[in-house]
């Protein structure tokens, strides 16, 4: 098992390196970093422009591979370069990544739990009205991409606020916390309030996805002998289903959950932008608009590493949970 994991890890490391290099080279050739200085009013003097471009290692007059080699050398020494406003990329990253973590973690746990529960419920009551209506609802959710869902939630929030009235709006949809919130509970409430809509926006799709999968695996389990044995032993139906049915059916879904949770970290771009959270996603689009190669490469590296961790993790989880799998 050890040798297998090491070999796998090595292969993954090569893939991450190539993926990040592709992102760097793609960005370095596609972006026009001079535009930002030339379009300033008044335009920045050439000396200043070239000094700053050199400091960012983004001088387009230098050959791409020279810049790339310099960047790789820096990364090997833990230096990820400068952002477009000459800030340190690592510093910016260490702030942004926590914003995204605060945004995603609640949604990740919530969607996994709800998805599994709803899917199991559907399987137990297969072809009942509840099953059909949940299936239809998940079809509608699948057809709603985040860039439709997030503004739609905003629309609802505004209408709800209008209906409720009052001085401060009930549902918040901009930023992480109200700067005027005071006291521990006041701040906690403000945070939760601001988290509500983005969490719905992130988790609805995941819930629909997990529940559909869980419904399928659960249906396979429902007719199985061991579940009948559990009932024959005298376990009540609900307990048998929960202890023996759901627990077995959740194994394949768990790998899916690991994967989706981890990829959500990089995929929260739209939610972050619509609800004004300055996490990795907002940073990525800002960096692209400012022709900032270093930031873009950093975020791509992070998300490639996450995908690989997800891959490794789901392999290991399957091996641990499923006795038929030998590594």
């Amino acid at each position: 098992m050890g040798a297998f994991i090491v070999r796998r890890l090595l292969n993954y490391a090569v893939l991450v390196f190539i993926a990040t290099s592709l992102a760097y080279l793609g960005a370095a050739t596609a972006f026009h970093p001079k535009d930002m200085y030339l379009h300033k009013n008044p335009p920045a003097p050439a000396v200043v422009m070239y000094r700053e471009l050199d400091e960012r290692d983004s001088n387009p007059d230098k050959p791409v591979f020279e810049r790339y080699a310099h960047w790789v050398d820096g990364v090997a020494h833990g230096d990820f370069g400068k952002t477009w406003d000459l800030d340190s990329v690592s510093k910016h990253f260490s702030i942004s990544v926590w914003v995204t973590v605060r945004l995603v973690s609640v949604a990740a746990v919530l969607s996994a739990v709800l998805g599994v529960l709803i899917g199991s419920f559907q399987a137990v009551r297969q072809y009942k009205v509840s099953d059909h209506s949940i299936t239809f609802a998940s079809y509608v959710i699948f057809a709603m991409p985040v860039f439709v869902l997030a503004p739609f939630l905003k629309l609802i929030a505004v209408q709800v606020n209008k209906a409720v009235g009052g001085d401060t709006p009930l549902l918040q949809y901009q930023g992480e916390i109200d700067p005027n919130a005071t006291g521990f509970f006041g701040q906690l409430f403000s945070r939760a309030d601001h988290l509500l809509l983005p969490t719905i926006s992130l988790s609805l799709g995941l819930i629909a996805f997990y529940s559909r999968y869980q419904r399928g695996t659960m249906l396979d389990v429902m007719g199985s002998d061991f579940l009948r044995t559990a009932r024959a032993k005298g376990l009540r139906k609900g307990r048998a289903i929960l202890k023996h049915g759901v627990r077995t059916a959740v194994i394949p879904v768990m790998t899916l959950v690991t994967y989706s949770t981890i990829t959500t970290f990089a995929g929260a771009i739209i939610t972050e932008r619509v609800f004004g959270w300055n996490g990795l996603g907002s940073w990525f689009t800002d960096a692209t608009n400012h022709a900032d190669v270093n930031s873009v490469a950093m975020i791509t590296l992070f998300s490639a590493v996450l995908v690989l961790i997800a891959g490794m993790l789901s392999d290991v989880i399957t091996a641990v949970l499923d006795p038929r799998v030998r590594l």
Partner: protein
Amino acid sequence: MTIQLIDDGHTPETVGGGPVASTAAGRARLVWRRFRRNKLAVAGLAGLVLLFLFAFFGPSLTHWKAGDNDFLNTQTGPGSDHFFGTDDAGHDMFAQTVSGMRKSLNIGLLVAALSTGAAGILGTAAAYFGGWWDKVIVWLTDLFLVVPSLLMLIILSPYFQGANWIVLIPMIALFNWMITSRVVRGMTLTVREREFVRAARYMGVPAWTIIRRHILPNISSILIVDYTLNVGAAIVTESFLSFLGFGIRTPDVSLGTVINDGSTFAGTDQWYLFAFPASFLVLIILCVNFIGDGLRDALDPNSTGVSAR
């Protein structure tokens, strides 16, 4: 030609010997009959046809064009002149939505054709030739799966900034073929060992002819289903990019740009400027997904619909 035995139970007339031509026609009819049994799928097909008709004949319902500005009537509500109202620049939202739909549908159909085609060729080649072909293609597939495709599309967006919007089609397809290709490879691996393929190989039939004549027909079900679902996925990807300002740009419009334009009004009293284009996008994806699932059930009765990726 192979006759796939379909273990359906309800339709005894399905398994027929007979000449090759009639079995092919018989299979098409069988699939169509199964498809028709799924009410949602039929509704999806009817809906998609209507949406297509709307997208292509809608422009003749109004005298406004997508690029027109009606400066006398900015931010008006839905009415007899502007069916869906106008935004702050006086753009007629009806004209914008209709022409955005047309562009999005075109992009979806073309991207799906390109990516499913590429996936079919690469997946079958990897499995059929094996050896180095297989190693290289599998490695490429893994690489493209690791590269975060949406981020990569955003990074490369300056390349197609000034270019024709057609460039967007191969770009999206480039990051959309991997999963289908994996499935195709897996299916080809089993078909490759079947007797009729071996027989053809020993008779000296060229490899690509075997792939075209014996392997592709046997995996056509997955290709058809994936094509349908890829249309929806491609429309979403394109709209995602355009929504963020990295895809289709003015003066061109797509559903993504129109939704982005409208979404600034989602929190105001002019929320219908967002609701109209957004609901058309949702309707398109919904219909495409219904058709895709219906086709899957009709083509492969053993699938439970769970492995819906």
